[in-house]
Amino acid sequence: MAIEDDVTVVGGGLAGMTAALAAAREGADVRLLSHKDSTLRSASGLVDVLGYDADGTLLADPFEAIADLPDSHPYRTVGVEGVREGLALFDAVVGDRYRGDHTDRNALVATHGGSVKPTARYPASAAPGLASDERSVLLVGFETVTDFDAPLAADHLRAAGVPFEVEGATVQFPGDFRADAARTRLADALDANERLEVGAAGSGGSGRSGRSGGGAGGGESGYTTSLPARKALAETVKDHLDGTERVGFPALLGQHETDEIRADLEAELGAAVFEVPMGSPSLPGMRLEGAFQRACRDAGVRFTTGNPVVGYEERDADRHDGGVAAVRVNRNGAAIPFHADQFVLATGGLVGKGVDSDREGVREPIFDCHVPAPSDRYDWFADEAFGDHPFARFGVETDDDLRPLDREGEPAFSNLRAAGAVLGGSDFAAEKSGSGVSLATGVAAGRSAAREVTR
């Protein structure tokens, strides 16, 4: 016959995995379809709920501000309770890997560009770096990790008026790595505590360093010496320390052993050690991806990844309920149908390609859901680069049950719900609300879909 599930979720980012997990925990058989590896690999790992209001004023309590949002905002659809449920599911998945669940207040986290960002949940590895803390900070950058300029970030933080002393230093990552070594490679070296050559540089062409793991001592010869990576890194930083109470590194402190790496560095340096969230590929994002994927698999979610969903099949016309029967995956010209009872659309916004545009208009490419937009495309944007751009809010409109609406304001399909950035009405970049919208609407759409099949 065909491949058939209770609930099929289209999209493998935070919203999609949240919807799949929420539906599976309600007892539904769930399949998640995604074109590529999860976009969480590109996410900072910070979980924002609402950082700024419409005037750009920093919000201390995001929940308090939800009532002031316009009706079209996804938070108004799911309500404050929906946002809390999204965060509750998140907290359960990540456990002690994250902080921030003890308070409703936004935390202020320094970013790799040296700005300060309000966020609701942050990795435990970033916790000692909060900008509200008054202890002095040394930011450490590495010559070859070019998207974190520590002295510049320190300057920016000072200019932002942070309540602590901050300095930046650029050092060479110990060992004999290629100049363009991937961040994940450096993280691996710290994970395994590989022995790295330190001391006199220029061992030229000696190839890769050993991977013998921890332990002290070892065969020193000549004027270089080899040290376990964590100790070697601490040695490199020590000269710059000068009594600083906290040390911030770009987020590459291991893929798996982050806690141990930080503890080892703290013991060596006698200072608190934290990670500064980074851009793609993001280690905190990859760790978060891993945690969500494990939770999904444990709940029985089936993953099918590798080809894009490009269209759908309607239910038999004689049922007259306008439902979706199957989504179609395009595999090199062949259309592979995936049947389900309920569907969740979580394909992302303009950046994630869940909303597409050309000169004629704006569209949702899989179900051709209506995406409201001004007919004149010169009205899609503001003149100022950081102005209030209408395009940032482009996305599908839904009813109270997150079902996308057609042009007439009626649900386009009886069994399709939408979650995450494909929803219109929020400007995640300006408001700092991206993860919160994904979590809240993901849980709501996933649970709602599952209830239809399990009741």
Binding site: D37, T39, T184, G207, S280, P281, T305, G306, N332
Partner: protein, 460 residues
């Protein structure tokens, strides 16, 4: 003359008054190209480096610059005539994981294949040991064709440690590996002895009658099997299982003439060899499609090649239709039969497997399929051993200088296999199977063999 070539005064462009909002229309600046033009794909790369973090070779080999360099960066550099292609492109194993990692749809493996082809064509010494060795490995099917004429002698010779050390010293083929045994009878020999197409047609008709499916039009139930080199020469059991299973569901099986799918040739930059093989395959398979068949493969690298690499690299008539009508065998049954219900009524005994999804199955969206299917079969269980690459990547792990890298990549999979309760491995890819066996000593089976056992053997 295109808009892009319209001469304009550069000073006009800077004068905002000269172009009002209403008049401004962006134009297509790149002319339509008849030849393969990878520039648009290259321009889509915004250097997020996600591909580098997904590359199994870069993970263990610090000398390897990674897929981002091999693809879009090298593509830009090599467009200038005075730049050679970097020889590190030969260290790419063609696992194609970068393709599924890229959030921007950059055709990375296509860029790697074209760069590697150009490197071998223009920069590799044709009398060098490496070229000769790679050519032999890439044309495994030809070698196997000779060997299978005298399988016992070939097995004796290839299993001989003296020959193995000659292979390593003279050719750079590692002596660490056990050369795969040649079957006494090839799949094709078995097929013809069994009566070929006529027998299959008869058995399919009988099966349809028995399944109350006699009304089904015979033309709807016809598949052409692309067996590839390995199931022909080395593991004909897989091919036989595929034939019996499909006939059980009432399908008439055809076995068209065919050459190597080309996978080992792409991976070694032997594009001319691959093109010759592809021409035959596309012609024969397109003819089978004309006869009403869909194409079925049991090796996921073969189906990957027909589905993705052919359309990316060649433009024979019928290439697109062969790509669109090619399926992995299990995938095809899942789409066209109620396989879950069928398996729910069947059972096997003590079939615990440590399942590894080959990279080329992942790329086709088939990674979870065997685990899902066996979930429904009483007595069978397949535990996924995770998403690491097996490391052998076809001919890659056979090269003396790549052997250690290959084993280092595979280490994670070996560990995960041994962590499971199962003592038998399972995968769809013949070389992954080789690596799994080499690293753990487990016997490795193909999902089709289990299906055959559950659905067909029990009936006899």
């Amino acid at each position: 003359m295109s808009d892009a070539e319209t001469p304009t005064d550069p000073s006009d462009a800077r004068d905002e008054q000269a172009v009002s909002d209403e008049e401004f229309e962006p134009v297509q600046v790149f002319p339509e190209s008849e030849e393969m033009d990878l520039r648009p794909g290259s321009d889509d790369c915004y250097k997020c480096s996600t591909c580098d973090s997904a590359c199994p070779v870069a993970e263990v080999d610090d000398e390897f610059p990674g897929p981002k360099f091999q693809g879009p960066e090298q593509w830009r550099v090599k467009r200038k005539d005075d730049h050679d292609i970097d020889d590190s492109v030969m260290s790419c194993s063609n696992c194609m994981r970068c393709d599924s990692a890229c959030p921007s749809d950059v055709p990375l493996s296509q860029m790697h294949n074209t760069a590697r082809g150009q490197f071998v064509e223009e920069q590799m010494e044709k009398l060098s040991r490496e070229y000769v060795r790679n050519r032999i490995l890439a044309n495994y099917g030809t070698l196997a064709g000779f060997a299978s004429k005298v399988p016992r002698l070939a097995n004796f010779v290839m299993g001989n440690s003296f020959v193995q050390s000659i292979n390593e010293k003279l050719l750079g083929i590692t002596s660490e590996r056990e050369f795969p045994e040649f079957a006494d009878q090839t799949f094709r020999e078995w097929w013809h002895e069994r009566g070929g197409n006529a027998t299959s047609e008869k058995r399919a008709r009988e099966a349809r009658a028995k399944r109350d499916d006699a009304s089904a039009d015979a033309d709807d139930k016809r598949v052409a099997y692309f067996h590839g080199c390995y199931s022909n020469y080395n593991t004909p059991e897989v091919g036989k299982s595929m034939v019996r299973t499909f006939e059980h569901f009432g399908y008439e099986v055809m076995v068209p003439p065919q050459q190597c799918s080309g996978t080992p040739m792409f991976a070694n930059g032997m594009l001319a060899d691959a093109e010759r093989a592809a021409e035959t395959n596309v012609r024969e398979l397109a003819a089978a499609i004309e006869d009403g068949a869909d194409i079925i493969a049991s090796c996921t690298s073969c189906s990957m090649s027909l589905r993705q690499e052919y359309p990316e690299l060649f433009s024979f008539e019928g290439t697109a239709s062969v790509a669109a009508r090619t399926y992995e065998a299990l995938e095809y049954l899942r789409l066209h039969e109620d396989l879950d219900a069928e398996l729910a009524d069947a059972k096997v005994e003590d079939a615990e497997f440590a399942y590894h999804a080959p990279c080329h199955a992942r790329n086709q969206g088939l990674a979870g399929q065997a685990v899902e299917v066996l979930d429904n079969l009483t007595g069978a269980n397949a535990e996924d051993v995770g998403d690491s690459c097996s490391g052998i990547s076809g001919t890659y792990g056979w090269k003396e200088e790549k052997y250690d890298t290959s084993m280092e990549i595979g280490a994670e999979m070996f560990d995960h296999m041994e962590d499971t309760d199962a003592e038998t491995g399972m995968t769809e890819c013949p070389t992954c199977a080789m690596q799994m066996e080499h690293g753990t000593g487990y016997e490795i089976r193909h999902p089709l063999e289990v299906l055959d056992e559950a659905l067909v053997e029990r009936e006899r």
